[in-house]
C-alpha cells in the first residue's frame, strides 16, 4: 500500500517561531492526512471524483473556519494556525485545500463577517460541522478577473428578491447545500446573498474534463428566476468590498497552502535523489540535481518566512490586501517551479500517480489562476508601489 513518508523541510528552524499549539495543530492535520487522505487521494484524482466523505472528516479535525469564533462553529484559532492547516492539506492535494478554503474563508467567513445574527446562527454551526457544504459564486462566464462587470442580478419583489444569472468555475458547487452568491441589485450595487439548494430555478451543473483539481468538484451556479427571501441577503455590505474581503482571507490561506505542495514535491524529490542510482551513484550526487534541490529549499525557506510574517500581520489586523497578493503570487510561483523541477528529478516515475508531483503540478495551474490570476496579483503589487492603476 502507498506509504506517505513526508517530512517537512525546516532549514532555518522556523518551528521555533511557532507555539506548541501551532505544532500540535500541524501534527494533528498531518496525522489525519497521512492516515486518511494520502492513501486515497490519487485514486479519486485519477477518477476525477470528489471524495464526499472527507467533508465530515475535515469538519471533525476542525479544518473549516479555524479562525471563526468557536461559538459560531469555527475553531477560534489565530491566522498562523489557519495557514498551517491549509499548508498541511495542500501538501496532500490542492483540491482538498480548496474545499476547506471555500468552506472556511469564502462561505463561513462572509456569513460571519457580513451576515445577520440570524444568518450566523442558522448556517455557521452546520457549515462548521460539515453537515452543510458551501460554495462561493463570484466568477461569471464573461467576468473573471473583472468581477465588477458581473451581470447576475437581483430584483426586489416584496419580501423576497428574484435572482437571475449564472456563475462559472465554482468550487464545491455540484455538492453544495448553500451558495454565497454575489449579484447586483437594481441600483447596480454588488450584494451578497445565501442561496440554498432546493430553491426553485437554482441548478449546479458540474464542469467536466478538468486536468486540474480533479479531486475537487467544480461547476456552475445557474439562477433562473430564483426566489430568495430578503432575510438571506447580507445586511452589512455593499459593493466589491464584500467579495474582496473574503478573497483576502482565502488568498492568505493559499499563500501557506501552495507552499505545502512545494514542500511535498521537494521532500519527494530529495528522497528520490538519494535512492535512485544511475551511473553507479545516487542521482543526488550529481551537481545538476543538487542545484535543483538547493534552489528548491532556498525558495521554500524564503517563502516560509514570508508567510509566517504575513501571519503575524494578519493576527495583528495589519496585513494589507496587497501584501496578501504578493504572498499568494510568490508561493504559487515557487510551488509551480518546484513541481516542474521535482518532476524532472523523478524521471519517468514523475509522470505517474506513484508520486504526487504531477498531480500537484496540474493542481497548481488552477491555483495560479483562481483567487486572482498570477498577473492580476502582480498588477496589484504594481499599483500599490507606484500608486498608478493599471486596470483603468
Amino acid at each position: 500500500m502507498y506509504k506517505d513518508l513526508y517530512q517537512h523541510p525546516d532549514y532555518y528552524q522556523l518551528d521555533e517561531l511557532l507555539t506548541d499549539e501551532h505544532k500540535l495543530i500541524r501534527d494533528t492535520v498531518r496525522q489525519y492526512v497521512k492516515k486518511s487522505l494520502s492513501p486515497i487521494i490519487e485514486d479519486y484524482a485519477q477518477r476525477a471524483e470528489f471524495p464526499t466523505h472527507i467533508v465530515k472528516e475535515l469538519a471533525d479535525i476542525g479544518a473549516f473556519g479555524p479562525s471563526i469564533p468557536a461559538e459560531y462553529g469555527g475553531g477560534g484559532l489565530d491566522y498562523i494556525s489557519y495557514g498551517i492547516i491549509m499548508q498541511e492539506l495542500e501538501r496532500c492535494d490542492s483540491g482538498v485545500r480548496s474545499t476547506a478554503s471555500v468552506q472556511g474563508s469564502l462561505v463561513m467567513y462572509p456569513i460571519y463577517k457580513f451576515g445577520s445574527e440570524m444568518q450566523r446562527r442558522k448556517y455557521l454551526p452546520k457549515l462548521g460541522s460539515g453537515e452543510f457544504l458551501g460554495c462561493f459564486g463570484l466568477t461569471e462566464p464573461d467576468h473573471g478577473s473583472n468581477p465588477a462587470g458581473m451581470i447576475t442580478n437581483i430584483k426586489d419583489a416584496g419580501d423576497h428578491v428574484i435572482l437571475n444569472g449564472a456563475k462559472m468555475w465554482i468550487s464545491n458547487s455540484p455538492f453544495a447545500d448553500v451558495a454565497v452568491v454575489w449579484a447586483k441589485d437594481e441600483a447596480g450595487d454588488i450584494r451578497g446573498l445565501i442561496v440554498e439548494r432546493g430553491m426553485e430555478g437554482f441548478t449546479t451543473p458540474e464542469t467536466k474534463g478538468k486536468w486540474s483539481l480533479r479531486a475537487s468538484a467544480t461547476g456552475e451556479l445557474v439562477f433562473d428566476n430564483v426566489k430568495v427571501p430578503k432575510e438571506n441577503i447580507f445586511p452589512e455590505v455593499k459593493g466589491l468590498k464584500g467579495p474582496l474581503t473574503c478573497l483576502s482571507s482565502a488568498r492568505y490561506g493559499i499563500a501557506w497552502g501552495a507552499l505545502g505542495a512545494a514542500m511535498d514535491c521537494y521532500d519527494s524529490a530529495l528522497r528520490y535523489s538519494k535512492e535512485r542510482i544511475q551511473f553507479e551513484r545516487p542521482i543526488g550526487q550529481f551537481q545538476l540535481t543538487q542545484k535543483k534541490l538547493a534552489e528548491m529549499i532556498t525558495e521554500i525557506t524564503k517563502s516560509q518566512l514570508m508567510v509566517w510574517r504575513l501571519g503575524v500581520l494578519m493576527n495583528e489586523g495589519r496585513a494589507t490586501p496587497a501584501q496578501i497578493s504578493m504572498a499568494k503570487r510568490n508561493s504559487v510561483e515557487v510551488a509551480l517551479n518546484i513541481a516542474r523541477e521535482a518532476r524532472q528529478i523523478h524521471g519517468g516515475m514523475g509522470i505517474t500517480g506513484e508520486y504526487s508531483i504531477m498531480r500537484h503540478m496540474m493542481n497548481l495551474e488552477s491555483v495560479v489562476t483562481y483567487e486572482g490570476t498570477h498577473d492580476i496579483h502582480l498588477l496589484i503589487t504594481g499599483m500599490d508601489i507606484t500608486g498608478l492603476n493599471a486596470f483603468k
Binding site: 506548541d20 495543530i25 494533528t28 489525519y32 471533525d60 475553531g75 494556525s81
Partner: protein, 246 residues
Amino acid sequence: MKILVCISKVPDTTTKIAFTDNNTKFNSDKVQFIMNPYDEWYALVRACELKEKHGGSVTVINVGGADNEQIIRRALAIGADDAVRIDAEPQDSFFVAEAIAAYAADKGFDFILTGKETIDYNGSVVAGMLAGLLNWPFISLAVSLEVEGNTATLEREISGGKEKLQVNTPFVASASKGMAEARIPNIRGITAARTKPLTVIAPGNATALTTIKSYKLPAEKTGVKLISADHPEQLIDLLHNEAKVI
C-alpha cells in the same frame, strides 16, 4: 473512576540518533520530540475511553522540564482532564517512579496506566517500580482492560496465546499494542486544552540509582548488493567469503 496516566517525551521515530559528551548524553540538537507512542496510543486513549464510559477523570503526569509541556498539551487535547508536571530532569527509571509514586500515593487513583516501554531507552521498568513503591499489584504488557466497580479484567499477550486476569483497584498496568486505537486530537480538543489545569510540582527527594557510562550505536547497515540472476555463483561467493554465513 480516577485514572492516572504516565506520559513521557521521546525523539520522533525518524530521528538520527547521535551522542555527545564522550557518548554519555543523547544529542537532542534539532531533534523533534513526540509523546511516547505506547503512552499515547494505548494507555492514554484507553483511559479516556474508560472515563467516557464510566465517568470520572483522567490525569496525565510527566517528569521533565518546561519544554515537555508540548506533549502534555497534546495529552490534554486528546482528552485528559488535567495534568501534572514534576519539574525535574529524569535521571533514571527509579527516579521517575519514585517521583510519580510520591505524588500518586495519596490522591485516590483507581489505577495507573503507562505504556509498555518508551521507544527511546526501552526500559519497561517504571510501571513495575511504581507498583512496587506504592505496594499495588502490577500487570505488564496488557492488551485489553475493562473495569467494573473496583475489579479490573485485563488480558496479556503471552508466548503463543493470551492470559486473562482479574485484579482489584488500585493497580498499575502497562499497555501494549491492541489496548486501544490511536486517536488523532481534533482542533476543538486542542483549543479546549488551553484552559485545562496543568500543575507543576517539585520532585521531592526522588533519587537515581544508576548512572550512564556510555552509549554505543549499532554498526551501520551496509548497502544492498545486486547480483544478476545469470551469475548465481557470485552470490554463493559473497555468502561464503564476505558475509561468511555459509
